[in-house]
Symmetry: C2
Subunit: 209 residues, 2 copies
């Protein structure tokens, strides 16, 4: 690819406490921004009905996953309910080199690992308008009992207390507004001069007599 016509792909990392609406927002972003691709993670858990290899996850054996950890091939990884999940550093660097913008939906600890290992990325944290609303949303799901709701609220407080280092804070007071704010962040980051300096080179060369 021609260096002068080329912008490096950007990694957008999205985190949010549960109940802040992250899953719906991510789905909406991938649907509405055709030039933004969801980052696909590796996992050791069993493939569920309807899930596709390379679309939902890359499904691998625990031994292969451990090798990736040992070889420092993962930008982040975590164990959840006995299964391993992780993002390959190669996935991120390939996308960057190809000029592909990626969306990675991950919790605060994963995001912090990415920031440390990948040293790039735009970090966006989605906030609920307030705790009362967060609690209401968790209850309205009707899927969790009181203990689970209380634990989720506790986790949310913990996650929000870590949000200070993110680049952007987006309040999800209104779904459409929140989506528009994230779309605006994607558009703005694509215009940042450290990413678009090749435009100046192009103009300088074309402009020379």
């Amino acid at each position: 690819m021609n260096r002068l016509n080329h912008r490096e792909g950007i990694l957008f990392v999205l985190s949010a406490p549960s109940g802040a609406g992250k899953t719906s927002l991510c789905r909406e972003l991938i649907d509405s921004l055709s030039d933004l691709r969801q980052s696909v993670s590796f996992t050791t858990r069993e493939k569920r009905g309807g899930e596709q290899e390379g679309v939902d996850y890359y499904f691998i054996e625990a031994e292969a996953f451990q090798k990736k950890i040992a070889a420092k091939e993962l930008a982040e990884w975590a164990e959840v309910h006995g299964n391993l999940y992780g993002t390959s550093l190669q996935t991120l660097t390939d996308a960057a080199q190809q000029g592909t913008d990626l969306l990675l939906d991950i919790d605060c600890q994963g995001a912090a690992q990415i920031k440390h290992s990948y040293e790039r990325g735009v970090f966006i944290f989605i906030l609920p308008p307030d705790y009362a609303e967060l609690e209401k949303r968790l209850r309205d799901r009707g899927t969790d009992d009181e203990t689970v709701i209380q634990r989720r609220l506790e986790n949310s407080r913990e996650e929000i207390s870590q949000a200070f280092w993110y680049d952007y804070l987006v309040v999800n007071d209104d779904f459409k507004l929140a989506r528009d704010r994230i779309v605006a962040i994607v558009t703005a980051e694509r215009c940042r001069s450290h990413r678009t300096a090749y435009l100046l080179d192009k103009l300088t060369i074309k402009g020379e007599k």
Copy 2:
């Protein structure tokens, strides 16, 4: 104003070589973003028909202007065709404290002075798609003779060569797209965490038991 409910106003500085479409873009931005105000400059030139004090400019005497320079009250100033033009530092700091976002349309040298004296601001440079298009736009105006056109093109090259330090580069290939990109930058900058950390304070306080 309550610190916890308050975001500092942002200064958006827009520069562009002549022919890049800056004037139309600024007018469109002020019209479409009701919560963005055009910054009003001081000038020593005569008021023209239709111009309003405090809307188009603050019209002052040369002596008063010189006093402002001496007292370091100006964030930037310049002499153009024998008249003085400048932006008051007080205008900028008042808007910031009141949470008012300002748009300042100014050349590269003025922008550089602002960056130095005000030490804040979001700097956006508008680029023409290429030199051929810039030349075409200058010729299509039909107002300038060949010497003036050549001088403007030369100035444009000079301005573009200084654009590297701006925060954002926006290509005006299509007026509507360029406007949308600047609107996106305004929206995104309003979400930046160093400006919206008060949201975390609010959630932390409300969230405490």
